[in-house]
């Protein structure tokens, strides 16, 4: 045992699949609460879809369930594979990862499958792949590498500008698809990596002020001088939650119905008597508004249970940030943790009527292969960071 770990220390081969005893050790060093929370959320998603979408696709009551279950299984497999890989390898591959990220989100403009006026995904015979979902993880992996690598180059201000540019370029591409929600996740992930990369508080203050100014410009000033930056529906969605009753139609209407759905679930839920999410009052109930389905069907008990699972997931992720054996792991874990937190808060907040409609899926719960699998992969990277930390600790102790 001691011998094996010495060999590993001497000849690091991150991509070599560890065999025999070590393989079991890998599993043993997984963060089990994190694994359980992840799989439980995915399983609850399949369960909910099974009850809520039986009549959505005529003639195939299991359409969404079957697919979501397959995505979940693929996600678990992908997660387990990633735990076997030393995440530090990704740091060396940062340029390749970053190039692939930018290329894949650009190529949808050319080869993408257009749905509802937006080109986000590639269409393959049996599935469609939305590169921006995987991109959330890729951006964190690459950007963390750049931050570590450039830590000593240039002044603090130059570094901040460089990180911002690196992060905002793919975010801008995604914004143009147009996919406002995902591009916001990209921005938040960038800021999170910078946050853990030690960018000074003062810089964040400036960035924050710039963001406020930008929002004012986009929503107020630019339309006033006749240069609309957001598409009409985007702006309406973003602002309607501020005054829902005014927009009884369109975006505000949908959100209103979502709030009514969740509220009507009361403590224990309405089960199959749910009307709001069963009778099409709430749109996109299998994707963006799945939390409303949970709220109406399973009540406060169900919705709070789901939220608790997310809280557990985030707590474990944050714990891995503190455990990481190197700074790269800290930055990656931090980026992943914050972007998951952001997505959960924005999506659930949207369902609860306190955040704008941005089209951000609820990680692991919303129907969709790209999102589910990409989230599992991100969890896999977190597990890898955890395992490497445990292994190095153990090695140190063993020394």
């Amino acid at each position: 045992m001691m011998y094996a770990s010495r060999t590993r220390q001497a000849r690091p081969e991150p991509f070599a699949i560890r065999v025999g005893l070590a393989e079991r050790l890998g599993l043993a060093h997984m963060d089990w609460p994190l694994t359980i929370a992840t799989v439980a959320l995915a399983a609850f998603s399949v369960f909910t879809l099974g009850q809520a979408t039986a009549n959505d696709v005529p003639g195939s009551p299991h359409y969404y369930v079957d697919r979501q279950a397959i995505y979940g299984v693929l996600g678990v497999v992908g997660m387990l594979l990633l735990t076997r890989i030393d995440y530090s390898r990704f740091r060396e591959l940062r340029v390749g990862i970053y190039t692939f990220l930018c290329a894949s989100v650009s190529l949808v403009f050319v080869f993408g499958f257009a749905a509802r006026g937006s080109r986000r995904a590639f269409e393959f015979p049996f599935f469609s792949f939305q590169p921006s979902e995987l991109g959330k993880l890729l951006l964190v992996l690459a950007l963390a590498g750049f931050v570590i690598d450039g830590a000593r180059r240039g002044s603090a201000r130059q570094r901040t500008v460089r990180y911002l540019c690196l992060g905002l370029a793919p975010a801008a591409l995604v914004f143009l698809q147009p996919d406002l929600g995902t591009s916001m996740v990209f921005v938040v992930a960038t800021l999170a990596v910078m946050y853990f990369g030690g960018v000074p508080w003062t810089h964040f203050a400036v960035i924050g002020a710039a963001l406020v100014a930008l929002i004012a410009l986009v929503l107020v000033a630019a339309p006033a001088v006749g240069v609309p930056v957001l598409k009409g529906y985007q702006e309406q969605r973003l602002t309607s939650f501020l005054h829902p009753s005014e927009h009884a139609s369109g975006a505000g209407y949908q959100q209103n119905q979502s709030v009514v759905a969740i509220g009507s679930g009361q403590k224990t839920g309405r089960g199959d008597r749910a009307t709001q999410t069963r009778l099409d009052f709430v749109p996109e109930r299998h994707t963006d508004f799945i939390f409303a389905v949970i709220g109406e069907r399973y009540g406060f008990m169900g919705a709070a249970f789901v939220l608790s699972l997310y809280a557990l997931l985030f707590w474990r992720a944050l714990r891995i940030v503190t455990l990481s054996k190197n700074s790269y792991g800290t930055l990656v874990a931090g980026g992943i943790a914050v972007s998951l937190l952001f997505q959960v808060f924005v999506n659930v907040g949207m369902n609860l009527g306190i955040m704008p409609i941005t089209g951000i899926p609820l990680p692991l719960m919303s129907y969709g292969g790209s999102s589910v699998i990409a989230t599992f992969l991100a969890i896999g990277v977190l597990q890898s960071i955890n395992i490497q930390a445990r292994l190095s600790q153990r090695g140190r102790f063993a020394w």
């Binding site: 570590i148 830590a151 946050y195 853990f196 990369g197 030690g198 927009h247 009884a248 139609s249 369109g250 209407y253 119905q257 709030v259 009514v260 759905a261 969740i262 509220g263 009507s264 679930g265 009361q266 403590k267 309405r270 009307t275 709001q276 009778l279 099409d280 009052f281 709220g295 109406e296 009540g299 406060f300 919705a303 709070a304 939220l307 997310y310 809280a311 985030f314 944050l318 940030v321 503190t322 455990l323 990481s324 054996k325 190197n326 700074s327 800290t330 931090g334 943790a337 914050v338 937190l341 808060f345 659930v348 907040g349 609860l352 009527g353 306190i354």
Partner: protein, 622 residues
Amino acid sequence: MYERWNDRPGANKRLALRIAVLGGVAVALFGVLFFRLWDLQVLSGAGYLAEAKNNRTREFKVIAPRGDILDREGNVLVDNRTSLALQLNTQKLPEGPAEERDELRRLGGLAHMSLRKVRRTIRESEEVAAGAPVTLRKDVGYDLVYYLEENQRRFPGVAVQRVFVRDYPDGSRAAHVVGSVGEVSEEELKEPPYKGLEPGDEVGKGGVEYTYDRYLRGEPGLTKIQVNALGQPTPGGQLVSRPPSPGDNLKLTIDPDVQAAGESALAARGLPGAFVTMSVHDGELLGLGSFPTYDPTVFTEPKTQAQVNELYRDPVTAPLTDRATESYYPTGSTFKIVTALAALEGKVITPSTTIVDGGKLTVGTQSFQNAGGASYGALTLVPALEVSSDVFFYELGYDMWDSGQLQRWAAKLGIGKESGLDIPGETEGLVPSRSWRNQLFKEGETERPWSAGDNIQLATGQGDLQTNPLQLAIAYAALGNDGTIVTPHVGKEVEDAAGRVLKEFDPKPRRKIKIDPAHRTAIMEGLHQAAQGPQGTSYGIFGGFPVEVAGKTGTAQRPPHADQSWYAVLAPYPDPRIVTVVTMEEGGFGAESAAPAALQILEAYFEKHASSVSASGTGLAE
């Protein structure tokens, strides 16, 4: 390589601070979500539950327009126009009988209907389709729509719906072919082709509207609207909608010029009659018409009693009857090709057999004479057809009276048999035979059994023979195309709105029969001489026609009516492309009225196809 804050983050105060800050933010965010959830579900849940229960939806069907019906050149025969219909949902009527009567009376005032008539309309409609909205009146004006919208509360259950109404740009053009549409009946709803339809839906009731209904029909769309407790739509509450998919267009084989010529030729004489023009090779009907005709528009609007009488009650004019396919006529001498074929193929005669026409044939006590008392002397088949010697064919009928040969050939050629036409309602007809007659005699329906005289009469298309112009056209087509019994059809193809062909109709021939080429040549020559030889019965009509044709007159005796005029013609001779059959009740000799009408039709056809005829000299497939 390493960050300023070294490899052990737990030991680093700055990182620890940042993680703590983030943890604090996360606690705050989750706290917000939990609190909001608690607020919505536990504190205000009851209110939201009430609101959810108050949410109701109503589904509206969006009617899909039927497909257009086009002629073979793409001209519109039938399309749709939109119309506003005043509809009443009887379940929404006020509860009390007095209030109900009050509303119905006010509604009747708007629709220009008496209270009695409103009640009757509702009753009739409930019989057909209980629960469906009752259409009180179609084609209401916009002023009424606005009035109703402003006074919605006074008229609960009343709605104005946009409906599609069949439109016939050319009035009665090809009326018997296109047919009409009407509301699906209760009986039809139980049948598989009408699965998924609801009371009140329109389906084809006759003609190609009936036959090709499933292509023309289209699929209604659905709009789901959120309504409040009063049943009024909530603003923006449009939930799901499935757009209606319009029916596909049906292209017919009907040629606009041939059809127009045939209809005007019939109308010019004003006699009840019919015409059929068909491609001899594939059975495509280029024209098919019946006179008197009607404008199918009458089925789209309320009918007056006078219109109903004219359409249904008058047995003489009977405009709804398609005389081309739904009639029972003897055909006169046009039937002689059947007799000739039966005699030649049955080896009763050869093309060179001579029979002496002495003006009459006497069998026992009965004497059968030539029309007009003529006698033509010694004849072979060709001149016998040219001059239309009856005695020649009497002799053949007499020779075959006991053998059933003539009946077998009539059946082979499709006389007295349904043709498989894609328009509903065609008649089978009757070829009198020994067994038929003897059966009737046994049942005491007739005074005598089968005798030679029956067959002698049949040989010239008189007596008990009952057929229709379409069957005769099929028999002539078989002669023209070397023995193929085609399946006549008017459906050519189904197209989508963009004109892409979705389906083509090319029904297989019913059967092939064997005809000796020498026999065919002889009969065709006889018909050619009859039309364009100097002694020919219709030389006066077709003698000067630039295209060579093979045609035969017929004069059918239909006591107590005056003689019925027939003409059947294959053109161009000797390799015909089309066959035309015309008949006119009480039109006299064949050459008197039917032949000129047939000429008019051929003129229209060959004017269009002149180049192809002169170039090849003979008819070739189009």
